[in-house]
Protein backbone atom coordinates (compact mmCIF):
# COMPACT_ATOMS: atom_id res chain seq x y z
CA UNK A 1 0.00 0.00 0.00
CA UNK A 2 1.28 3.46 -0.92
CA UNK A 3 -0.18 6.54 0.70
CA UNK A 4 0.44 10.15 -0.28
CA UNK A 5 -0.26 12.73 2.44
CA UNK A 6 -0.55 16.38 1.38
CA UNK A 7 0.82 18.72 4.01
CA UNK A 8 0.67 22.47 4.06
CA UNK A 9 2.34 25.06 6.23
CA UNK A 10 0.07 27.44 8.15
CA UNK A 11 0.56 30.09 10.82
CA UNK A 12 0.17 28.83 14.37
CA UNK A 13 -3.45 29.06 15.56
CA UNK A 14 -2.60 31.85 18.02
CA UNK A 15 -0.75 33.95 15.42
CA UNK A 16 -1.84 37.57 15.21
CA UNK A 17 -3.63 38.09 11.93
CA UNK A 18 -2.43 41.31 10.30
CA UNK A 19 -1.59 42.38 6.78
CA UNK A 20 1.24 44.28 5.14
CA UNK A 21 1.99 45.99 1.81
CA UNK A 22 -1.29 47.82 1.61
CA UNK A 23 -3.28 44.81 2.84
CA UNK A 24 -2.05 42.57 0.07
CA UNK A 25 0.17 40.24 2.12
CA UNK A 26 -0.08 38.37 5.39
CA UNK A 27 2.26 40.01 7.91
CA UNK A 28 4.41 36.97 8.58
CA UNK A 29 6.99 38.60 10.81
CA UNK A 30 7.47 36.74 14.08
CA UNK A 31 4.86 34.15 13.16
CA UNK A 32 5.36 30.52 14.15
CA UNK A 33 4.61 28.07 11.37
CA UNK A 34 3.01 24.70 11.92
CA UNK A 35 1.77 21.80 9.84
CA UNK A 36 -1.87 22.56 9.03
CA UNK A 37 -3.62 20.78 11.96
CA UNK A 38 -5.97 18.74 9.76
CA UNK A 39 -3.05 17.48 7.70
CA UNK A 40 -1.00 16.55 10.75
CA UNK A 41 -3.45 15.33 13.36
CA UNK A 42 -5.84 13.51 11.09
CA UNK A 43 -4.44 12.77 7.60
CA UNK A 44 -0.87 11.97 8.60
CA UNK A 45 -1.60 10.19 11.88
CA UNK A 46 -4.26 7.99 10.24
CA UNK A 47 -1.75 7.10 7.52
CA UNK A 48 0.77 6.18 10.23
CA UNK A 49 -1.83 3.99 11.94
CA UNK A 50 -2.51 2.19 8.65
CA UNK A 51 1.22 1.57 8.34
CA UNK A 52 1.35 0.23 11.88
CA UNK A 53 -1.39 -2.23 10.94
CA UNK A 54 0.39 -3.18 7.70
CA UNK A 55 4.15 -2.48 7.88
CA UNK A 56 4.55 -2.96 4.11
CA UNK A 57 2.78 0.41 3.69
CA UNK A 58 4.85 3.38 2.64
CA UNK A 59 3.90 6.96 3.43
CA UNK A 60 5.02 9.73 1.11
CA UNK A 61 4.50 13.39 1.90
CA UNK A 62 4.05 16.23 -0.53
CA UNK A 63 4.29 19.93 0.12
CA UNK A 64 4.12 22.70 -2.42
CA UNK A 65 6.26 25.41 -0.89
CA UNK A 66 9.64 27.05 -0.58
CA UNK A 67 12.58 25.96 1.57
CA UNK A 68 10.74 27.64 4.47
CA UNK A 69 8.51 24.56 4.53
CA UNK A 70 11.35 22.20 5.35
CA UNK A 71 11.00 22.37 9.16
CA UNK A 72 7.36 21.29 8.95
CA UNK A 73 8.22 18.58 6.41
CA UNK A 74 10.93 17.25 8.77
CA UNK A 75 8.42 17.23 11.59
CA UNK A 76 6.01 15.19 9.46
CA UNK A 77 8.85 12.78 8.69
CA UNK A 78 9.63 12.61 12.42
CA UNK A 79 6.01 11.68 13.12
CA UNK A 80 6.23 8.78 10.69
CA UNK A 81 6.36 9.75 7.00
CA UNK A 82 8.87 7.70 5.01
CA UNK A 83 9.91 10.18 2.37
CA UNK A 84 8.86 13.60 1.17
CA UNK A 85 8.55 15.70 -1.93
CA UNK A 86 8.73 19.44 -1.88
CA UNK A 87 7.60 21.16 -5.04
CA UNK A 88 9.61 24.34 -4.99
CA UNK A 89 7.04 27.07 -5.49
CA UNK A 90 5.49 29.82 -3.49
CA UNK A 91 2.94 31.33 -5.78
CA UNK A 92 -0.21 30.03 -7.25
CA UNK A 93 -3.79 29.44 -6.25
CA UNK A 94 -5.58 26.25 -5.21
CA UNK A 95 -5.74 24.98 -8.78
CA UNK A 96 -2.03 25.59 -9.27
CA UNK A 97 -1.15 23.74 -6.04
CA UNK A 98 -3.54 20.90 -6.91
CA UNK A 99 -1.84 20.59 -10.32
CA UNK A 100 1.54 20.20 -8.62
CA UNK A 101 0.21 17.55 -6.23
CA UNK A 102 -1.48 15.70 -9.09
CA UNK A 103 1.83 15.63 -11.02
CA UNK A 104 3.61 14.05 -8.03
CA UNK A 105 0.71 11.64 -7.50
CA UNK A 106 0.81 10.45 -11.12
CA UNK A 107 4.46 9.47 -10.74
CA UNK A 108 3.89 7.57 -7.52
CA UNK A 109 0.91 5.35 -8.32
CA UNK A 110 -0.65 5.77 -4.89
CA UNK A 111 -3.51 3.72 -3.45
CA UNK A 112 -4.58 6.51 -1.16
CA UNK A 113 -4.20 10.27 -1.19
CA UNK A 114 -5.00 12.05 2.05
CA UNK A 115 -5.49 15.79 2.45
CA UNK A 116 -6.73 17.84 5.37
CA UNK A 117 -10.32 19.09 5.38
CA UNK A 118 -9.04 22.61 4.75
CA UNK A 119 -6.09 24.85 5.42
CA UNK A 120 -6.68 27.01 8.48
CA UNK A 121 -5.28 30.08 6.70
CA UNK A 122 -6.92 29.98 3.26
CA UNK A 123 -9.98 27.86 4.17
CA UNK A 124 -10.29 26.66 0.61
CA UNK A 125 -11.44 23.06 1.19
CA UNK A 126 -10.72 22.78 -2.49
CA UNK A 127 -7.40 21.14 -3.16
CA UNK A 128 -8.44 17.53 -2.39
CA UNK A 129 -11.39 17.69 -4.79
CA UNK A 130 -9.25 19.33 -7.46
CA UNK A 131 -6.55 16.67 -7.16
CA UNK A 132 -9.20 13.97 -7.45
CA UNK A 133 -10.65 15.54 -10.60
CA UNK A 134 -7.21 15.98 -12.14
CA UNK A 135 -6.52 12.28 -11.53
CA UNK A 136 -10.10 11.19 -12.34
CA UNK A 137 -10.39 9.48 -8.96
CA UNK A 138 -13.30 9.34 -6.53
CA UNK A 139 -13.17 11.85 -3.68
CA UNK A 140 -14.62 11.58 -0.22
CA UNK A 141 -14.49 14.79 1.76
CA UNK A 142 -14.89 15.50 5.49
CA UNK A 143 -13.89 11.99 6.50
CA UNK A 144 -14.18 11.29 10.22
CA UNK A 145 -13.27 7.59 10.02
CA UNK A 146 -11.27 5.55 7.56
CA UNK A 147 -10.78 1.80 7.39
CA UNK A 148 -9.74 -0.79 4.85
CA UNK A 149 -11.92 -3.86 4.40
CA UNK A 150 -10.96 -6.51 1.85
CA UNK A 151 -9.12 -3.99 -0.31
CA UNK A 152 -11.89 -1.39 -0.23
CA UNK A 153 -11.98 1.87 1.69
CA UNK A 154 -14.78 2.21 4.20
CA UNK A 155 -15.10 5.88 5.02
CA UNK A 156 -17.46 7.65 7.38
CA UNK A 157 -17.93 11.24 6.31
CA UNK A 158 -19.74 14.14 7.88
CA UNK A 159 -22.93 15.38 6.25
CA UNK A 160 -25.24 18.16 7.46
CA UNK A 161 -26.84 16.85 10.63
CA UNK A 162 -25.25 13.42 10.61
CA UNK A 163 -22.83 10.95 9.06
CA UNK A 164 -22.72 8.73 6.03
CA UNK A 165 -20.73 5.52 5.54
CA UNK A 166 -19.27 5.09 2.08
CA UNK A 167 -17.49 2.18 0.41
CA UNK A 168 -15.19 2.74 -2.48
CA UNK A 169 -12.47 0.84 -4.34
CA UNK A 170 -8.92 2.21 -4.25
CA UNK A 171 -7.36 4.48 -5.35
CA UNK A 172 -9.28 7.30 -3.74
CA UNK A 173 -8.67 10.83 -2.48
CA UNK A 174 -9.91 11.52 1.05
CA UNK A 175 -10.01 14.81 2.97
CA UNK A 176 -9.62 14.24 6.69
CA UNK A 177 -10.95 15.90 9.80
CA UNK A 178 -11.47 15.30 13.49
CA UNK A 179 -12.35 11.72 14.38
CA UNK A 180 -9.89 10.10 11.96
CA UNK A 181 -7.08 9.87 14.51
CA UNK A 182 -5.63 11.54 17.58
CA UNK A 183 -2.80 14.04 17.58
CA UNK A 184 0.68 12.58 18.29
CA UNK A 185 3.94 14.11 19.45
CA UNK A 186 7.12 13.05 17.60
CA UNK A 187 9.54 11.06 19.77
CA UNK A 188 13.34 11.37 19.92
CA UNK A 189 13.91 8.37 17.68
CA UNK A 190 11.55 9.82 15.08
CA UNK A 191 13.23 13.21 15.21
CA UNK A 192 16.71 11.70 14.80
CA UNK A 193 15.53 9.40 12.01
CA UNK A 194 13.81 12.21 10.14
CA UNK A 195 17.11 13.95 9.48
CA UNK A 196 18.24 11.25 7.07
CA UNK A 197 14.90 10.42 5.44
CA UNK A 198 14.70 11.42 1.76
CA UNK A 199 13.32 14.89 1.06
CA UNK A 200 13.29 15.38 -2.67
CA UNK A 201 12.94 18.89 -4.09
CA UNK A 202 11.36 19.13 -7.52
CA UNK A 203 10.56 22.11 -9.72
CA UNK A 204 6.89 22.86 -10.44
CA UNK A 205 5.14 21.70 -13.60
CA UNK A 206 3.57 24.37 -15.79
CA UNK A 207 0.11 25.24 -14.49
CA UNK A 208 -2.18 28.23 -14.44
CA UNK A 209 -3.71 30.08 -11.53
CA UNK A 210 -7.39 30.83 -11.98
CA UNK A 211 -7.63 33.27 -9.09
CA UNK A 212 -5.50 35.83 -7.26
CA UNK A 213 -5.79 37.55 -3.91
CA UNK A 214 -6.47 41.23 -4.58
CA UNK A 215 -6.42 42.29 -0.94
CA UNK A 216 -7.25 41.31 2.63
CA UNK A 217 -9.55 42.97 5.18
CA UNK A 218 -10.01 42.60 8.90
CA UNK A 219 -13.53 42.43 10.37
CA UNK A 220 -14.77 45.66 11.97
CA UNK A 221 -14.23 45.89 15.70
CA UNK A 222 -17.16 45.11 18.01
CA UNK A 223 -18.88 48.02 19.73
CA UNK A 224 -18.39 46.48 23.16
CA UNK A 225 -20.34 44.19 25.40
CA UNK A 226 -23.54 45.19 27.15
CA UNK A 227 -23.52 43.52 30.56
CA UNK A 228 -26.67 42.37 32.31
CA UNK A 229 -26.71 41.71 36.06
CA UNK A 230 -26.64 38.01 37.04
CA UNK A 231 -29.52 38.85 39.38
CA UNK A 232 -31.80 39.64 36.43
CA UNK A 233 -31.08 37.25 33.54
CA UNK A 234 -34.65 37.83 32.30
CA UNK A 235 -33.41 41.28 31.26
CA UNK A 236 -31.03 39.55 28.82
CA UNK A 237 -33.95 37.66 27.30
CA UNK A 238 -35.86 40.93 26.93
CA UNK A 239 -32.90 42.61 25.19
CA UNK A 240 -32.45 39.70 22.81
CA UNK A 241 -36.13 39.84 21.97
CA UNK A 242 -36.75 43.59 21.81
CA UNK A 243 -33.38 45.18 21.03
CA UNK A 244 -31.35 42.63 19.06
CA UNK A 245 -34.55 40.95 17.77
CA UNK A 246 -32.86 37.60 17.48
CA UNK A 247 -35.30 35.51 19.54
Amino acid sequence: MKILVCISKTPDTTAKIAFADNNTKFAAEGVQWIINPYDEWYALVRAIELKEADPSTSIHLVNVGTADSEPIIRKALALGGDEAFRVNSDNGDSFYIASQIAAIAKEGDYDLIFTGKETIDFNGSSIGGMVAELLDLPYISHAIKFDLESGKAVVVREIEGGEETDKVALPVVVSCQKGMAEQRIPNMKGIMGARTKPLKVTEPVAAESYTTVASFDLPPAKAGVKLVSPETPEELVRLLHEEARVI
Partner: protein, 320 residues
Protein backbone atom coordinates in the same frame (compact mmCIF):
# COMPACT_ATOMS: atom_id res chain seq x y z
CA UNK B 1 -25.13 33.66 -20.52
CA UNK B 2 -26.83 32.85 -17.23
CA UNK B 3 -26.13 32.12 -13.59
CA UNK B 4 -26.65 28.51 -12.55
CA UNK B 5 -27.18 27.52 -8.92
CA UNK B 6 -26.82 23.97 -7.64
CA UNK B 7 -29.63 23.04 -5.25
CA UNK B 8 -28.51 20.54 -2.67
CA UNK B 9 -31.17 18.20 -1.39
CA UNK B 10 -31.47 15.60 1.32
CA UNK B 11 -34.30 13.05 1.52
CA UNK B 12 -36.06 14.82 -1.34
CA UNK B 13 -36.02 18.26 0.25
CA UNK B 14 -33.98 21.23 -0.88
CA UNK B 15 -31.73 22.39 1.96
CA UNK B 16 -32.15 25.80 3.52
CA UNK B 17 -28.62 26.78 2.53
CA UNK B 18 -29.60 26.17 -1.09
CA UNK B 19 -32.48 28.66 -0.91
CA UNK B 20 -29.92 31.16 0.29
CA UNK B 21 -27.61 30.22 -2.59
CA UNK B 22 -30.54 30.53 -5.03
CA UNK B 23 -31.41 34.00 -3.79
CA UNK B 24 -27.74 34.98 -4.03
CA UNK B 25 -27.60 33.59 -7.58
CA UNK B 26 -30.61 35.74 -8.53
CA UNK B 27 -28.81 38.82 -7.17
CA UNK B 28 -25.63 37.96 -9.10
CA UNK B 29 -27.73 37.44 -12.24
CA UNK B 30 -29.27 40.88 -11.68
CA UNK B 31 -25.81 42.41 -11.44
CA UNK B 32 -24.79 40.77 -14.69
CA UNK B 33 -28.03 41.55 -16.49
CA UNK B 34 -29.04 37.94 -16.91
CA UNK B 35 -31.27 35.33 -15.26
CA UNK B 36 -30.67 32.69 -12.61
CA UNK B 37 -31.43 29.05 -13.32
CA UNK B 38 -31.07 26.09 -10.99
CA UNK B 39 -30.16 22.43 -11.20
CA UNK B 40 -31.25 19.76 -8.75
CA UNK B 41 -30.23 16.11 -8.90
CA UNK B 42 -32.05 13.00 -7.72
CA UNK B 43 -35.60 12.48 -6.54
CA UNK B 44 -37.15 15.67 -5.16
CA UNK B 45 -40.47 15.92 -3.35
CA UNK B 46 -40.61 19.71 -2.97
CA UNK B 47 -42.58 22.05 -5.17
CA UNK B 48 -39.70 23.42 -7.20
CA UNK B 49 -41.77 26.11 -8.91
CA UNK B 50 -41.63 27.95 -5.57
CA UNK B 51 -37.93 28.61 -6.22
CA UNK B 52 -39.37 31.50 -8.24
CA UNK B 53 -39.93 33.25 -4.91
CA UNK B 54 -36.17 33.32 -4.52
CA UNK B 55 -35.63 34.80 -7.95
CA UNK B 56 -34.86 31.63 -9.93
CA UNK B 57 -36.48 31.58 -13.38
CA UNK B 58 -36.03 27.96 -14.32
CA UNK B 59 -35.24 24.77 -12.40
CA UNK B 60 -33.66 21.89 -14.29
CA UNK B 61 -34.18 18.49 -12.74
CA UNK B 62 -32.35 15.24 -13.33
CA UNK B 63 -34.70 12.90 -11.51
CA UNK B 64 -32.44 9.88 -11.72
CA UNK B 65 -32.68 7.87 -8.48
CA UNK B 66 -29.02 6.89 -8.80
CA UNK B 67 -28.31 10.56 -7.97
CA UNK B 68 -30.09 10.39 -4.62
CA UNK B 69 -26.69 9.86 -3.01
CA UNK B 70 -23.76 12.15 -3.59
CA UNK B 71 -20.81 10.91 -5.58
CA UNK B 72 -18.93 14.13 -6.33
CA UNK B 73 -17.35 12.64 -9.43
CA UNK B 74 -20.71 11.77 -10.98
CA UNK B 75 -22.35 15.00 -9.81
CA UNK B 76 -19.60 17.20 -11.26
CA UNK B 77 -20.04 15.62 -14.68
CA UNK B 78 -23.82 16.08 -14.65
CA UNK B 79 -23.55 19.69 -13.48
CA UNK B 80 -20.95 20.38 -16.16
CA UNK B 81 -23.52 19.25 -18.74
CA UNK B 82 -26.08 21.60 -17.22
CA UNK B 83 -23.57 24.45 -17.35
CA UNK B 84 -23.18 23.80 -21.04
CA UNK B 85 -26.93 23.41 -21.57
CA UNK B 86 -27.71 26.72 -19.88
CA UNK B 87 -24.59 28.54 -21.18
CA UNK B 88 -23.91 29.51 -17.58
CA UNK B 89 -20.89 31.69 -16.89
CA UNK B 90 -21.26 31.83 -13.13
CA UNK B 91 -22.09 28.76 -11.07
CA UNK B 92 -23.18 29.07 -7.45
CA UNK B 93 -22.97 26.46 -4.69
CA UNK B 94 -23.64 26.58 -0.99
CA UNK B 95 -20.28 26.05 0.71
CA UNK B 96 -21.66 23.08 2.68
CA UNK B 97 -20.32 19.52 2.65
CA UNK B 98 -21.80 18.79 -0.79
CA UNK B 99 -20.62 22.08 -2.24
CA UNK B 100 -17.11 21.51 -0.91
CA UNK B 101 -17.03 18.07 -2.53
CA UNK B 102 -18.41 19.09 -5.93
CA UNK B 103 -17.29 22.68 -6.63
CA UNK B 104 -13.51 21.96 -6.72
CA UNK B 105 -14.06 19.14 -9.19
CA UNK B 106 -16.26 21.32 -11.37
CA UNK B 107 -13.63 24.05 -11.21
CA UNK B 108 -11.07 21.71 -12.79
CA UNK B 109 -13.55 20.31 -15.29
CA UNK B 110 -14.68 23.75 -16.53
CA UNK B 111 -11.34 25.54 -16.04
CA UNK B 112 -13.36 27.92 -13.89
CA UNK B 113 -11.80 29.82 -11.00
CA UNK B 114 -13.42 28.93 -7.67
CA UNK B 115 -14.03 31.17 -4.67
CA UNK B 116 -15.11 29.00 -1.76
CA UNK B 117 -16.37 30.51 1.47
CA UNK B 118 -17.77 33.63 -0.22
CA UNK B 119 -19.69 35.99 2.04
CA UNK B 120 -20.74 38.82 -0.28
CA UNK B 121 -21.88 39.54 -3.80
CA UNK B 122 -19.13 39.81 -6.41
CA UNK B 123 -17.68 43.22 -7.11
CA UNK B 124 -17.92 43.53 -10.88
CA UNK B 125 -16.81 47.16 -11.11
CA UNK B 126 -13.31 46.16 -12.18
CA UNK B 127 -13.11 42.50 -13.10
CA UNK B 128 -14.79 39.93 -10.88
CA UNK B 129 -13.78 39.96 -7.22
CA UNK B 130 -15.46 38.06 -4.39
CA UNK B 131 -14.95 38.44 -0.65
CA UNK B 132 -14.33 35.20 1.23
CA UNK B 133 -13.41 34.29 4.78
CA UNK B 134 -9.81 33.36 5.49
CA UNK B 135 -7.91 32.55 8.70
CA UNK B 136 -11.03 30.73 9.89
CA UNK B 137 -13.12 33.88 10.06
CA UNK B 138 -10.42 36.11 11.55
CA UNK B 139 -10.07 37.97 8.23
CA UNK B 140 -11.39 38.26 4.68
CA UNK B 141 -9.69 38.04 1.32
CA UNK B 142 -10.91 39.63 -1.87
CA UNK B 143 -10.33 37.08 -4.59
CA UNK B 144 -10.19 38.07 -8.23
CA UNK B 145 -11.27 35.38 -10.67
CA UNK B 146 -9.60 35.65 -14.06
CA UNK B 147 -11.22 32.76 -15.95
CA UNK B 148 -14.20 33.11 -18.30
CA UNK B 149 -16.35 30.84 -16.14
CA UNK B 150 -16.53 31.42 -12.42
CA UNK B 151 -17.68 29.34 -9.47
CA UNK B 152 -18.72 30.77 -6.12
CA UNK B 153 -19.39 28.63 -3.05
CA UNK B 154 -21.37 30.79 -0.61
CA UNK B 155 -20.90 30.30 3.12
CA UNK B 156 -24.21 29.33 4.78
CA UNK B 157 -25.89 32.14 6.73
CA UNK B 158 -23.88 34.90 5.11
CA UNK B 159 -26.53 36.37 2.86
CA UNK B 160 -29.95 37.59 3.97
CA UNK B 161 -32.69 35.99 1.96
CA UNK B 162 -35.29 38.31 0.43
CA UNK B 163 -38.36 36.33 -0.57
CA UNK B 164 -40.38 37.77 -3.43
CA UNK B 165 -43.11 36.52 -5.70
CA UNK B 166 -42.56 34.31 -8.67
CA UNK B 167 -42.98 30.91 -10.20
CA UNK B 168 -40.05 29.06 -11.67
CA UNK B 169 -40.45 26.93 -14.73
CA UNK B 170 -39.52 23.33 -13.89
CA UNK B 171 -38.13 21.18 -16.68
CA UNK B 172 -36.40 17.83 -16.92
CA UNK B 173 -32.81 18.06 -18.07
CA UNK B 174 -31.42 15.15 -20.04
CA UNK B 175 -27.94 14.24 -18.93
CA UNK B 176 -25.59 11.30 -19.14
CA UNK B 177 -25.20 9.92 -15.63
CA UNK B 178 -22.18 7.74 -14.89
CA UNK B 179 -22.32 4.81 -12.53
CA UNK B 180 -21.22 5.92 -9.06
CA UNK B 181 -17.95 4.52 -7.74
CA UNK B 182 -18.86 5.48 -4.20
CA UNK B 183 -21.41 3.18 -2.63
CA UNK B 184 -23.35 4.68 0.27
CA UNK B 185 -23.61 1.89 2.81
CA UNK B 186 -25.58 3.80 5.45
CA UNK B 187 -26.74 7.24 6.50
CA UNK B 188 -27.06 8.12 10.12
CA UNK B 189 -28.90 11.35 10.82
CA UNK B 190 -29.75 12.79 14.14
CA UNK B 191 -33.46 13.12 13.55
CA UNK B 192 -35.17 16.33 14.52
CA UNK B 193 -31.96 18.16 15.31
CA UNK B 194 -31.19 21.45 13.57
CA UNK B 195 -27.98 21.04 11.51
CA UNK B 196 -25.37 23.24 13.14
CA UNK B 197 -24.10 24.80 9.92
CA UNK B 198 -27.57 26.02 8.96
CA UNK B 199 -28.87 27.00 12.39
CA UNK B 200 -29.96 30.58 13.03
CA UNK B 201 -29.50 30.22 16.75
CA UNK B 202 -26.78 28.16 18.43
CA UNK B 203 -26.41 27.43 22.14
CA UNK B 204 -22.90 26.27 22.92
CA UNK B 205 -21.30 24.88 26.07
CA UNK B 206 -17.74 24.78 27.35
CA UNK B 207 -15.76 23.24 30.14
CA UNK B 208 -17.43 25.65 32.56
CA UNK B 209 -20.45 23.32 32.57
CA UNK B 210 -18.31 20.84 34.55
CA UNK B 211 -19.66 17.61 33.05
CA UNK B 212 -22.02 16.04 30.51
CA UNK B 213 -24.65 15.56 33.19
CA UNK B 214 -25.21 19.33 33.20
CA UNK B 215 -25.85 19.63 29.46
CA UNK B 216 -29.58 19.80 30.06
CA UNK B 217 -29.02 23.52 30.64
CA UNK B 218 -27.77 23.88 27.07
CA UNK B 219 -30.16 21.48 25.34
CA UNK B 220 -33.26 22.76 27.12
CA UNK B 221 -32.56 26.35 26.09
CA UNK B 222 -31.72 25.17 22.56
CA UNK B 223 -34.99 23.27 22.25
CA UNK B 224 -36.99 26.27 23.46
CA UNK B 225 -35.27 28.54 20.92
CA UNK B 226 -35.30 26.04 18.04
CA UNK B 227 -31.53 26.25 18.18
CA UNK B 228 -28.71 23.86 17.38
CA UNK B 229 -26.18 22.91 20.06
CA UNK B 230 -22.43 23.28 19.83
CA UNK B 231 -19.43 22.99 22.13
CA UNK B 232 -15.80 23.96 22.58
CA UNK B 233 -13.05 21.62 21.49
CA UNK B 234 -12.01 20.21 24.89
CA UNK B 235 -15.64 19.29 25.53
CA UNK B 236 -15.66 17.17 22.37
CA UNK B 237 -12.17 15.81 23.10
CA UNK B 238 -13.24 14.46 26.49
CA UNK B 239 -16.39 13.06 24.88
CA UNK B 240 -18.88 15.11 26.84
CA UNK B 241 -20.42 15.95 23.47
CA UNK B 242 -20.17 14.44 19.97
CA UNK B 243 -17.29 15.80 17.87
CA UNK B 244 -19.54 17.21 15.15
CA UNK B 245 -20.64 19.86 17.67
CA UNK B 246 -17.11 21.19 18.02
CA UNK B 247 -16.84 24.73 16.67
CA UNK B 248 -13.73 26.81 16.18
CA UNK B 249 -10.62 26.96 14.14
CA UNK B 250 -10.26 23.19 14.02
CA UNK B 251 -13.97 22.47 14.09
CA UNK B 252 -16.93 23.92 12.28
CA UNK B 253 -17.01 27.65 11.47
CA UNK B 254 -20.53 28.98 11.88
CA UNK B 255 -22.32 32.31 11.47
CA UNK B 256 -25.73 32.13 13.15
CA UNK B 257 -27.83 35.18 14.02
CA UNK B 258 -27.39 34.39 17.68
CA UNK B 259 -24.58 32.48 19.41
CA UNK B 260 -24.97 31.87 23.13
CA UNK B 261 -21.73 30.74 24.79
CA UNK B 262 -22.19 29.08 28.16
CA UNK B 263 -19.06 28.54 30.28
CA UNK B 264 -16.65 29.00 27.36
CA UNK B 265 -13.52 31.09 27.90
CA UNK B 266 -13.32 32.41 24.33
CA UNK B 267 -9.84 31.26 23.32
CA UNK B 268 -8.67 32.67 19.99
CA UNK B 269 -9.13 29.28 18.31
CA UNK B 270 -12.71 29.09 19.54
CA UNK B 271 -13.52 32.66 18.46
CA UNK B 272 -12.20 31.92 14.98
CA UNK B 273 -15.14 29.63 14.35
CA UNK B 274 -17.91 31.79 15.80
CA UNK B 275 -16.94 35.43 15.44
CA UNK B 276 -19.03 35.90 12.33
CA UNK B 277 -22.18 35.32 14.40
CA UNK B 278 -24.36 38.40 14.22
CA UNK B 279 -25.09 38.57 17.95
CA UNK B 280 -22.92 36.91 20.58
CA UNK B 281 -24.04 36.33 24.16
CA UNK B 282 -21.52 35.19 26.76
CA UNK B 283 -22.28 33.73 30.16
CA UNK B 284 -19.15 33.22 32.22
CA UNK B 285 -18.30 33.68 35.89
CA UNK B 286 -14.92 35.21 35.12
CA UNK B 287 -15.20 38.91 34.15
CA UNK B 288 -11.75 38.62 32.57
CA UNK B 289 -12.79 35.81 30.20
CA UNK B 290 -11.59 36.88 26.72
CA UNK B 291 -14.97 36.02 25.23
CA UNK B 292 -16.52 39.19 26.69
CA UNK B 293 -14.36 41.26 24.32
CA UNK B 294 -16.05 39.58 21.35
CA UNK B 295 -19.55 39.63 22.84
CA UNK B 296 -22.57 41.87 22.27
CA UNK B 297 -24.32 40.90 25.49
CA UNK B 298 -22.96 39.22 28.57
CA UNK B 299 -23.67 38.09 32.08
CA UNK B 300 -20.83 37.72 34.54
CA UNK B 301 -22.24 34.95 36.68
CA UNK B 302 -22.44 31.28 37.56
CA UNK B 303 -24.06 29.28 34.76
CA UNK B 304 -25.78 27.00 37.27
CA UNK B 305 -27.61 29.99 38.74
CA UNK B 306 -28.09 32.06 35.59
CA UNK B 307 -29.15 29.44 33.05
CA UNK B 308 -32.27 28.18 34.87
CA UNK B 309 -33.48 31.79 35.11
CA UNK B 310 -32.84 32.39 31.41
CA UNK B 311 -34.67 29.19 30.55
CA UNK B 312 -37.62 30.27 32.70
CA UNK B 313 -37.69 33.71 31.04
CA UNK B 314 -37.58 32.21 27.54
CA UNK B 315 -40.39 29.81 28.50
CA UNK B 316 -42.43 32.79 29.57
CA UNK B 317 -41.62 34.65 26.36
CA UNK B 318 -42.58 31.69 24.22
CA UNK B 319 -45.71 31.10 26.29
CA UNK B 320 -44.54 27.56 27.02
Amino acid sequence: MSVLVFLDQADGHVKKSSFEAANYAAKVAGQLGTIAEAIVLGTVKDDLASLGNYGVKKVHTVADASLDNLDAQVYAKVIAQAVEGTSADVIIFSNNTAGKAIAPRLSVRLKAGLVSGAIALPDTSNGFTVKKTVFSGKAFANITVSTAKKIIALNPNSFSIVVGDGTAEVAAFTATVDTAKVEVASVNKIVGEVPLSEAEIVVSGGRGLKGPENWGLVTELATLLGAATACSRPVADIHWRPHHEHVGQTGLAIAPNLYIAVGISGAIQHLAGVNRSKTIVVINKDPEAPFFKAADYGIVGDVFEVMPKIIAAVKKLKGA
